[in-house]
């Protein structure tokens, strides 16, 4: 039984954005946050791998490339569980709109692309609360690479260099992020992620997101005036 497939009963609203780096999700979330604050909503923001408990350790381990994909997966789950229990769950109980930059789906995409069993990692995260709105920014690997690597080479993990797919970071990036994207695309149906085209304009994506969020909030009896 997974909570990720059951509607939650909290007063608050959980929104997450997903997609590979360079898909524009953080920009969209920042715009959304500012707007919600301006309309007087209680908003809280949380991002992937940021818990006090473990994020520094995970970053250190990454630098040294000393851990296996499964161990990494579990460390990210620690980070997620910590934020879920300390930040997300209390805020939802208190009626906040919680904006999450990446959610459990990031683990399902990245860990599986690194060879971790898909069902195993889903079971690990089965305590995650199902978001009211989960948006996936779909982009092709080459477009994301153009955006983030215009003045630098892809980073070690972002290129999946730990998997030894290729010695060339650009080539490795294309293969690895291609796998991550494939995993995301599978999740659109599996978890009901809303797919947006990352190549659309900032404005049109933001309009689409606000429209969807308004609907979600309306269904909970919250009306936004803007």
């Amino acid at each position: 039984m997974s909570k990720l497939t059951e509607k939650h009963n909290y007063k608050g609203t959980l929104v997450c954005v997903e997609g590979i780096d360079g898909s524009g999700k953080s920009t969209q979330l920042a715009l959304l946050r500012d707007w919600l604050k301006a309309t007087g909503q209680d908003v809280i923001f949380t991002e992937w791998n940021s818990s006090e408990l473990i994020s520094q350790t995970t970053k250190l381990a990454k630098k040294k490339n000393m851990l296996s994909p499964r161990t990494f997966s579990l460390l990210h789950a620690v980070d997620f569980a910590d934020r879920l229990k300390q930040v997300i769950d209390p805020a939802l109980k208190a009626g906040f709109i919680v904006l999450a930059d990446r959610y459990a789906y990031t683990a399902f995409a990245r860990d599986v692309a690194r060879g971790v069993d898909a069902q195993w990692v889903r079971n690990v995260y089965n305590f995650a609360i199902k978001p009211d709105l989960a948006i996936y920014f779909d982009i092709e690997a080459k477009d994301a690479m153009e955006r983030i690597c215009s003045n630098r080479a892809p980073k070690f993990y972002e290129a999946g260099m730990d998997l030894k797919l290729s010695n060339d970071p650009y080539e490795s990036y294309m293969i690895f992020q291609g796998r991550v994207i494939k995993e995301y695309q599978k999740m659109v149906d599996e978890f009901g992620l809303v797919k947006l085209d990352a190549m659309d304009s900032i404005h049109s994506k933001q309009v689409a997101i606000r429209t969807m969020l308004k609907e979600v909030l309306n269904s909970k009896g919250v009306n936004l005036n803007d």
């Binding site: 499964r70 161990t71 879920l84 195993w120």
Partner: protein, 219 residues
């Protein structure tokens, strides 16, 4: 053929705190080494990176039941993949002070769903031999108070059974023992009365190990 398919042997000693695991592990290690086999010992919660995080988080009382489970699972995964499996592959006899049965007992007592915890460890190789040191809770209590003293988490204080240390320890350890009892047949534990003299326990263990060695499973 070994149970896990690797060349080496995987031998586990399980039991609650104060059940005498480390003493027996040391004796067993010497016994096996004396016969010219390669032996590697690995203890619970000793991965280079994660063990410190667990200790630090415990000191600051930062752990909830889920992060507790996951951190131990991460420590285990690291040791399994970086130490234990490589050693088994190269034909070592690996002696483990605790295995994932410890996590099953402790996490379930902390309210986690047993199937969820089993999933965390479902990739772990099956040991060739699991010794379980069975100790009554009153003996355990005396041993621990007389040696290391009562620790916050080992007393299950984080679970909130009781604010009284002694009471909490008693309830927590009893619940852990129940979990171990449930596992005995499922995981084929060789259960040994932990109150027997050290030498007697060692003889029981070394006889079992010797039987496997004599079977010619290792070469």
């Amino acid at each position: 053929m070994t149970k896990h398919g690797y060349e080496g042997l995987l031998i586990v000693i399980e039991g609650t705190d104060g059940s005498g695991k480390s003493t027996q592990l040391e004796l067993l290690k010497k016994y096996i080494q004396a016969q010219s086999y390669g032996v590697m010992v690995s203890e619970w919660k000793t991965s280079r990176l994660i063990a410190n995080v667990i200790d630090d988080a415990k000191d600051r009382n930062l752990l909830n039941a889920t992060t507790y489970s996951l951190l131990y699972a991460a420590d285990f995964a690291d040791r399994l993949e970086n130490q234990i499996i490589p050693a088994l592959k190269s034909g070592f006899i690996v002696l483990l002070d605790r295995y994932y049965y410890t996590a099953l007992a402790r996490d379930v007592v902390r309210g986690q769903d047993i199937e969820w915890v089993k999933n965390l460890y479902d990739y772990a190789p099956e040991p060739d031999l699991v010794f379980y040191l069975d100790m009554p809770v009153d003996v355990l209590l005396k041993r621990i108070i007389g040696t290391t003293g009562l620790d916050f988490y080992e007393s299950g204080r984080d679970v909130g059974f009781s604010t009284d240390f002694y009471k909490s320890f008693e309830i927590y350890q009893k619940k852990c023992l129940e979990q171990y009892n449930n596992m005995k047949s499922e995981y084929n534990f060789k259960s040994i009365d932990g109150t027997l003299p050290i030498k007697t326990i060692h003889n029981i263990m070394s006889d079992e190990v010797q039987t496997i060695l004599d079977s010619g499973i290792l070469y």
